[in-house]
Symmetry: C2
Subunit: 256 residues, 2 copies
């Protein structure tokens, strides 16, 4: 039975896509069957997985507008070793159109039903917004991973995110829970990062993953080669950190 | 006659808000009368300017839905020395509602008309998306500043942004032009940043500002005190870099 996890934070640039790509690759390397769904019109998870978003036959846009089944969009056999449901900027149009439809928040959840048995993990990369696309991911998911840059604006935005998650849990998706908060681009030499990290521990306790992702330029270089960092530079601090995260996510399978 | 400048890039976390706040403060310190309009539901420009977004009487949401005039939302006399039209998460609701209205792209432009003579510069901070709010900013503005982190995903997203700007110029706002691309969080020691920077120079030439903003932790610390960096640490590299940008923006007044 697969676990469906949304990777969400409306604050921009906190490492959502980097986490989606590298957690997917790390779980795949630990013998899990993984699908990554790109639900951000920027298509960064698509490009970062080695696929050209300009050449797609179908994308998650077509799925959200009920034109094709999710399985028709899935690409497998990529070097990154996980399956991918890619997307591109067409998805922006779907977002506007979705607001007019009746079951608009449940489109992705319905689309995933038919294929969920084929995977151990389904990860969903979301855009930097609390919009209809992110809402679809929160309704479809059973758990949320919140990448969290340890800086002021990201910390300040957490309460809005928590309120939104609580709102979805109390209406459309009672089984939704937070799997964890992940410290990203973490630089322990800097007071601000340590201060914010201490505040996270104080407010969220065990919900904060022990694993954290250090700032590591290899993570920023890898997507330009269309590869997860473990296939670009396996020994790098970034690759090792995401592997540690994957092991922590697996260990929680039985607890959360 | 005031210049209206949108600070826009749909890529998340590239320094839009940091540029909006610190360029506004730098221009104000050079004796210009400046208004900063926060058009991002995250309300980061509001909090970073020292105002509590939870305590607003009116916000830009009310302006977009035609409930109050822009002048009714403007707060002056803040320590940051520029005027602010603040916002909060209510603006998310306005975004959805706007899509149903007739003159939806021109709301902000119409709202600015009555007050533009009171300012030399009107800066607009936008959300990480090419949505109706960003569209309103591009229709209202005469120029766009594009903060640009020198990394792969930000570079890859530029063509979608340029296409959108061109689309607005050929339909709703023929006078819209790019004032410049601003390298942000720049770390010259890292090959990726230098590679991307070289590509910017090659493709965009003089459109890339000579001034660039180095990665400087003071810029990330200042917003937690509700201050632009020049009022938090005047001698920091971040404060000096934004002052240099302000001088370059002023020098372009007569050229672009
Ligand atoms: N730990 C890290 N160390 C160094 N660079 C990183 C790290 N994590 C992410 N990056 C880089 O930082 C930038 C932002 O990360 P990313 O695009 O994954 O964030 P995001 O939250 O998905 O952004 P958006 O809000 O636009 O979707 C990217 O250029 C990425 O390559
Ligand atoms: N030059 C810099 N040096 C160090 N930190 C910076 C710099 N510029 C911005 N930051 C920090 O990086 C983070 C992202 O910047 P900022 O929030 O301004 O980007 P943004 O493009 O407005 O993000 P969003 O897409 O969420 O609106 C913030 O925590 C900010 O404090
Ligand atoms: Mg992303
Ligand atoms: Mg911002």
């Amino acid at each position: 039975m697969s676990r469906i996890i949304a990777i969400t934070n409306q604050k921009g640039g906190v490492g959502k896509t980097t986490t989606a790509i590298n957690l997917a690759a790390s779980l795949a390397s630990l013998e899990r069957k993984v699908l990554l769904i790109d639900l951000d019109p920027q298509g960064n998870a698509t490009m970062g997985s080695g696929l050209d978003k300009a050449e797609l036959l179908y994308s998650t846009c077509d799925v959200m507008l009920d034109q094709v089944a999710l399985t028709d969009t899935i690409i497998s056999g990529l070097p990154c070793a996980y399956d991918l449901a890619p997307t591109n900027a067409d998805l922006t149009a779907a977002e506007v159109e979705l607001t007019t439809l009746t079951d608009r928040e449940c489109r992705l959840r319905n689309a995933i039903q038919n294929i969920r048995d084929q995977y151990d993990y389904i990860l969903i990369d979301t855009p930097p917004s609390l919009n209809m696309l992110t809402l679809n991911a929160l309704v479809a998911a059973e758990a949320v991973i919140v990448p969290m840059q340890c800086e002021y604006f990201a910390l300040e935005g957490l309460s809005a995110l928590m309120t939104t998650i609580e709102g979805v849990r109390s209406t459309l998706n009672p089984s939704l829970k937070i799997d964890g908060l992940l410290r990203t681009m973490f630089d322990g030499r800097n007071n601000l990062a340590n201060d914010v990290s201490a505040q996270l521990d104080e407010h969220f306790g065990r919900l904060v993953y022990r694993a954290y992702i250090p700032r590591n330029v290899r993570l920023a270089e890898a997507p330009s080669y269309g590869l997860p960092v473990m296939h670009y530079d396996k020994g790098s601090r970034g690759a090792r950190a995401y592997l540690a995260l994957a092991q922590e996510v697996l260990a929680q399978e039985f607890h959360r």
